[in-house]
Structure formats: structure tokens, C-alpha cells
């Protein structure tokens, strides 16, 4: 029987090599592409009627749009408008990645640290670039709050720098760990269900509850990832 970690294995579907680099189209790539396709279908398909009074699908699309737009407006402010497409793409990409992973036999690309870390690194680099572009060298005042006594500087500055640098780490590990732990647990209980025969109904019942919980986690973690991105953008635009 397959172990609980086998679901995380990356398998090449179409081997591609660029130079010496392996660029194979894998099961992870497939689900990334699927997520992009589904998000695009969801948004473009929902708006195909461009109805003044939205139908069900259009209402869902508008709901997603208003949800992320509200998040950007409330947490970043009016200057955050130009980053809205990025935040929306990020939210939908992570959300669909998480939810696609809930389909049995599918692959959860957000359960891979390299993927979540790359996304977090994109956020980190973008946020730092925005802060530097807006404030120039004044950006470095971010690491020392204006009200603090100068004597505390040797303590505060390293702490602030460390906390700033740990942002992409915590952002990526939070998403990766949540997805991986949830999926591993589902698989463990599924193995129990098969192994215990008639008594397998007990772990099955646990799994039913866990799936509901995991769907909640899938949505919640996409939200957390996005709202933290918004808060970092807010810091970059307004400093403290």
C-alpha cells in the first residue's frame, strides 16, 4: 500500500530538458496549469454575459472580486489599487491549488515548500522593491521605530531586521505545513480505514469530518497568505 507521503511525490509526465536544467512537465505542473485554467474560466466565464443584474455564476465571480478588492482596500489603502491584480492572482492561485488538492488522486502543489517559498519570495521581493521605490533610503528607517530611545537601537534594529527577513519563511512554511499535515492525516486515516476492515468505519467517520475541516483550511490558508501579503504591502507603502 502507498505510504502517506507518496501523494507528495513529483512525477514527470513529459520530460523536458532545457540545457542541463530539468524542466519536465510534472503532475505538479499539470495542477498549476489546471488552477490557472480554472481561475481564468471562473472569472472570464462568469463575466461573459456582463449582465447588469448578475446571475449565479457572475455573482460568484463578482463576490471573489469584491472580496479581494475589499481586502486590498481595507489593508493596503487606496494606494494599493495597482497591486490588486497581483493580490487577486495570488489569492486565486493558492485557493484553487488548495481546493484542487482536495480531489482524491489529485496533487496539491501548495503542499510543496519550494512552491510556497517561491510565492512568498515573490511577495517579499515585490514588497521590498515597492518600499525602496517609494521611500528610497528612508525605507531603512523601518527597522527603527521613530519613537524608540536611541539607546535601544542595538537591540531593536537586529530584531526588526530578523523579523522582516523571517516574513517569507513564516509565510511559506505556514501554507506548506498546513497543506502537508492535513493531507498526510487524511491519508493516514484512509490507511486505517482499509486496514481495520469492519471497524474501518471509525477512521472513515474521522476522515469525513477531516475533509470538511481540510476544505476550511484550504480556504483559510489562501486567505491568510493573501491578507499577510496585503499587510506587508501596507507596510511597504506607509512604512510604520
Amino acid at each position: 500500500m502507498a505510504g502517506p507521503l507518496e501523494q507528495f511525490e513529483v512525477k514527470p509526465l513529459l520530460p523536458i530538458t532545457v540545457g542541463t536544467t530539468d524542466a519536465s512537465f510534472t503532475n505538479a505542473s499539470l495542477f498549476m496549469a489546471l488552477a490557472v485554467a480554472l481561475v481564468t474560466i471562473f472569472v472570464v466565464g462568469g463575466m461573459r454575459g456582463r449582465a447588469l443584474i448578475p446571475g449565479r455564476w457572475q455573482a460568484m465571480t463578482e463576490l471573489a472580486y469584491e472580496f479581494v478588492a475589499g481586502m486590498v482596500r481595507d489593508n493596503v489603502g487606496s494606494k494599493g489599487r495597482q497591486y490588486f491584480p497581483f493580490v487577486f492572482s495570488l489569492f486565486m492561485f493558492v485557493l484553487f491549488g488548495n481546493l484542487l488538492g482536495m480531489i482524491p488522486y489529485s496533487f496539491t502543489f501548495t503542499s510543496h515548500i519550494i512552491v510556497t517559498f517561491a510565492l512568498a519570495a515573490v511577495v517579499f521581493v515585490l514588497v521590498t522593491a515597492v518600499a525602496l521605490a517609494r521611500h528610497g533610503l528612508h525605507f531603512f528607517s523601518y527597522f527603527f521605530p521613530s519613537g524608540a530611545p536611541v539607546a535601544t537601537a542595538p537591540l531593536i534594529i537586529p530584531i526588526e531586521i530578523l523579523s522582516y527577513l523571517s516574513r517569507p519563511v513564516s509565510l511559506s512554511i505556514r501554507l506548506f505545513a498546513n497543506m502537508m499535515a492535513g493531507h498526510t492525516m487524511l491519508k493516514v486515516f484512509a490507511i486505517f480505514t482499509v486496514a481495520m476492515g469492519v471497524f474501518g468505519v471509525l477512521p472513515l467517520a474521522v476522515n469525513v469530518a477531516l475533509i470538511g475541516f481540510e476544505i476550511l483550511v484550504a480556504i483559510l490558508q489562501a486567505y491568510v497568505f493573501t491578507i499577510l501579503t496585503c499587510l506587508y504591502l501596507h507596510d511597504a507603502i506607509h512604512l510604520h
Binding site: 507528495f8 505542473s29 456582463r50 486565486m92 502543489f109
Partner: protein, 194 residues
């Protein structure tokens, strides 16, 4: 500006991620599939391709459509609200004009009633005055006629009295009295009384 930031962020982020996790991955061999460094390159490459595609599709194609529909709706609602406000103002203006017309009409009616009453009063007074004048004239004419009739009657009484005196003198005294003398005697007796 924004596009350049993002592509720079993607490239830099991928590089940072590869370096950081590759170092960690080499330490633990074949444990978690997530820490197998041989999967990093294809994952990062396809993540960059798919996420860039998603960002492009969202920012250029999908989101402007949603924004357009939402803007159109907001405009429509604002337009309707503005029209409703206009209609309300117009209705208020019409109402005020109506009330003003009502007040004007009432005032005019009152003025006309006063005028009509005055006119009628004046006409009545004139008629009364005309009637009074006619009556007075008739009365004075009648007076004149009475005075004339009276003096005529008195004149006749004097000549009758003179004739009676002459006739009485003849019968009693047996002499003729001249008619002129008798008349003079009667007139002297009456004096200026008649």
C-alpha cells in the same frame, strides 16, 4: 513599472528559493518528497510560467471585465438616483407652482367679488338717486299744480263772493251794486289773506 517589478520579483524570488531550499534538501536524503532537490527546478520553472500566465490573464483580460461591469452598474445606479432626485425636485416645483396658482386664483376671486359688490352697490345707488330725483320732480310738479289749483279756486271764490254780495245787496237794499265795486269790497274784506 508594475510589470517590471513583478518580473524582477519572480526571477529574484525563484533564485532565492532555489538557493535556500537546495542547501537544506541536500542534508536530508530521500525523506519527504518535498525536500528532494531534483524536483525543485521543474517546479519553479512551471510555477513561474503558470503564475506569470495567471497574472497576465487576470490583469489584462479577466479583471478589467469585472471592473467594467461593476463600474457600469455603479454608474447606472448613480444615474438612476440622480434622475430620481431630479424628478423629486421637479415634482416639488410643480407642487409649489400649483399652490401658488391656487393662492392667486383665490385672491383674484376675492378681488373680483369685491369689485362686483362695489359695482352692484354703485349701480343700486345710482338707480336710487335717479328714482329719488324723478320722485322729487313729480312731487314739485304736483305741488305747483296744487298751488295753481288753489289760487284758481280762491280767485273763483272771490268772484263768487262778489256776485253773492251784489245779489244780496239788490235783494235786501233794492239797489244795484256795481260788479267792480262789489269785487273791490270783497277783496278788501279778504285782505291779503288769500
Amino acid at each position: 513599472m508594475r510589470g517590471r517589478f513583478l518580473s524582477a520579483a519572480v526571477v529574484l524570488g525563484s533564485a532565492v528559493a532555489t538557493a535556500a531550499v537546495a542547501a537544506e534538501g541536500q542534508a536530508t536524503k530521500a525523506g519527504l518528497p518535498q525536500l528532494d532537490p531534483s524536483t525543485f527546478a521543474p517546479q519553479l520553472i512551471w510555477l513561474a510560467i503558470t503564475f506569470a500566465a495567471l497574472y497576465f490573464l487576470m490583469s489584462r483580460v479577466a479583471l478589467p471585465r469585472v471592473a467594467e461591469v461593476l463600474e457600469t452598474r455603479a454608474d447606472h445606479i448613480n444615474d438612476d438616483l440622480r434622475r430620481a432626485e431630479e424628478a423629486r425636485t421637479e415634482a416639488e416645483a410643480v407642487m409649489q407652482a400649483y399652490e401658488k396658482a391656487l393662492v392667486d386664483a383665490r385672491n383674484k376671486a376675492r378681488a373680483e367679488a369685491v369689485q362686483a359688490t362695489d359695482f352692484a352697490k354703485q349701480a343700486a345707488e345710482e338707480r336710487e338717486r335717479a328714482a329719488g330725483a324723478t320722485l322729487a320732480q313729480e312731487a314739485s310738479e304736483a305741488d305747483a299744480r296744487i298751488t295753481q289749483a288753489k289760487s284758481e279756486a280762491l280767485g273763483r271764490v272771490r268772484s263768487v263772493a262778489a256776485e253773492v254780495a251784489a245779489a244780496a245787496a239788490k235783494r235786501l237794499g233794492g239797489f244795484d251794486v256795481d260788479a267792480g265795486k262789489a269785487q273791490a269790497a270783497v277783496d278788501a274784506t279778504f285782505g291779503g289773506r288769500a
